[in-house]
Symmetry: C2
Subunit: 333 residues, 2 copies
Amino acid sequence: MAVQELVSRALAHDVRAVSRLISIVEDRREGFEEVYASIYPHTGKAHVIGVTGPPGSGKSTFVDKMALEYRAAGRTVGVVAVDPTSPFSGGALLGDRLRMQRHALDEGVFIRSMGTRGRLGGLSTATSGAVDVLDAAGFDVVLIETVGVGQSEVEIASLADTVILIQVPGLGDDIQVIKAGIMEIGDVFVVNKKDRPGVERVVAEIKMALDLSAPGGHPEGGADRDADRRQWRPPILMTMAESGEGVAEVVEACAAHLEHLGGAGLMERRLRRARAETMEIVSQRIWRGLRERPDARQEAERLAAAIAERRIDPYSAAIDLYKLLISAESARG
Amino acid sequence: MAVQELVSRALAHDVRAVSRLISIVEDRREGFEEVYASIYPHTGKAHVIGVTGPPGSGKSTFVDKMALEYRAAGRTVGVVAVDPTSPFSGGALLGDRLRMQRHALDEGVFIRSMGTRGRLGGLSTATSGAVDVLDAAGFDVVLIETVGVGQSEVEIASLADTVILIQVPGLGDDIQVIKAGIMEIGDVFVVNKKDRPGVERVVAEIKMALDLSAPGGHPEGGADRDADRRQWRPPILMTMAESGEGVAEVVEACAAHLEHLGGAGLMERRLRRARAETMEIVSQRIWRGLRERPDARQEAERLAAAIAERRIDPYSAAIDLYKLLISAESARG
């Protein structure tokens, strides 16, 4: 099927076409730039929500329940589940299938997993691409689910319009994510598995961390991530994702956050995502250019050998390679 | 103190100088290229070992016990603990101090944490820099400890000479890391907390995964990561890091793996690290160039706004920015 035909069908919410377009964008198949240029003008309507939390916090179940909640309100939901430990991609994994079954025959829910996309941050552009396809296809809400441990995974979630941080009582210190670096990206805090012992402590710790990050440490202030956060005090909500208890309140809080952001706040978030995305794509382009040029590849290989044998240090080698790349590319015009 | 003076002291194993050099390299302070060029010829002697596993697997305790084991054998140990959830860096964190106390007054053990280094993979070059400083300073073994969940963290560990993958019984499926993508990087498998129920299942699962990844699926083969793996069947060892039980065997297995690698295998590993490092540094350099040029920065900002407003798609914007960058840099000569 021609790319334009697929795009037309996806824009009309044909889930099979959506699935194929995501694969094209994800794997950078031929024509993916055309897909991107065609769908992009139709994006920007979905509320993109990042959901992140430590392993074992019940993220997937929580996300599934959020999807049900949105469906009950008549809204369609796309889910992009980022799983950096999986080498697979291209959708329709066993996991996706099992999760889809919970939403059986409901074309209003679409779930797609992103596996490892090779090195150099390909995962974040693949995720962005999938989000944009779902957005263009008219899904009202797009949930990005990532594990809140890795640096890149946290960054992927932080590029959403609204970020939900899930915590859970009873995880070891090793998994403790209540640290300033991650706290600052949360717009809505969820303490899941609220029947577990230690739930009050987790809530108290989040409150304290939020107080500390408020301007002047004032308890009624908000975190200092950016202007739109100054008046927003992230709510802390308790849930039982298994039963769905409390999930409706989280959905409400997300709507309240979107309203709070308003046009200017939303634009600020999306500018940040645009900056990160452009930088990422330019980097990838540079490396593609390098790989495609035999002389540059050869020089890169020669330098790698010199580094491995300690005849040159990586920084000096990088300068050589950089100069070669610039002159080769500029000669090409 | 002048950089050269610091370098001389670090090469003579002065831990205070080592600590300051790591800070210079980590924060890219003035003179860091000079530091790198000075220390790099002295690197390549340490056995660099990556240790990775899911949160809650007892990595830190395990790494501390490995350090004790090496010390008992008269060898010095540097540890670089990568903690992507921490916004702090620059060493001497509370955590480092607590851990150092277990090796009180022993100048043969040096522990340094790496916090989040901002975006664009700064964490991996910061980690590499710290490893190189410790290597040059004469530490016999350098352990890189990373959480085995995030894509970038796994990659950081995978650039070591030997990679230890820790598993632990009784973690939920969410934390299950026994997947082909991660299995392939392991040279030595450790099942920690072996007194927990389910230990046999974890061992069986690892065995099965190793069998599957062996060439032709033959149980006696090795994984197909690269040539040096074809004859190496990764051992599966059980430990109790708390008591230190089984850790000596892991140290032995690492030595056996290094011997197995031999000169050619080691060079292959180090070539891979050199390639990844050079690419990373060139990327960073390109972005520094962009940030330092007002015209490029302005254009990048204009394009980001156009993307956020859906007037241009990220791929088309990236091409514009790429061309500007190349022509600006090539004009500079």
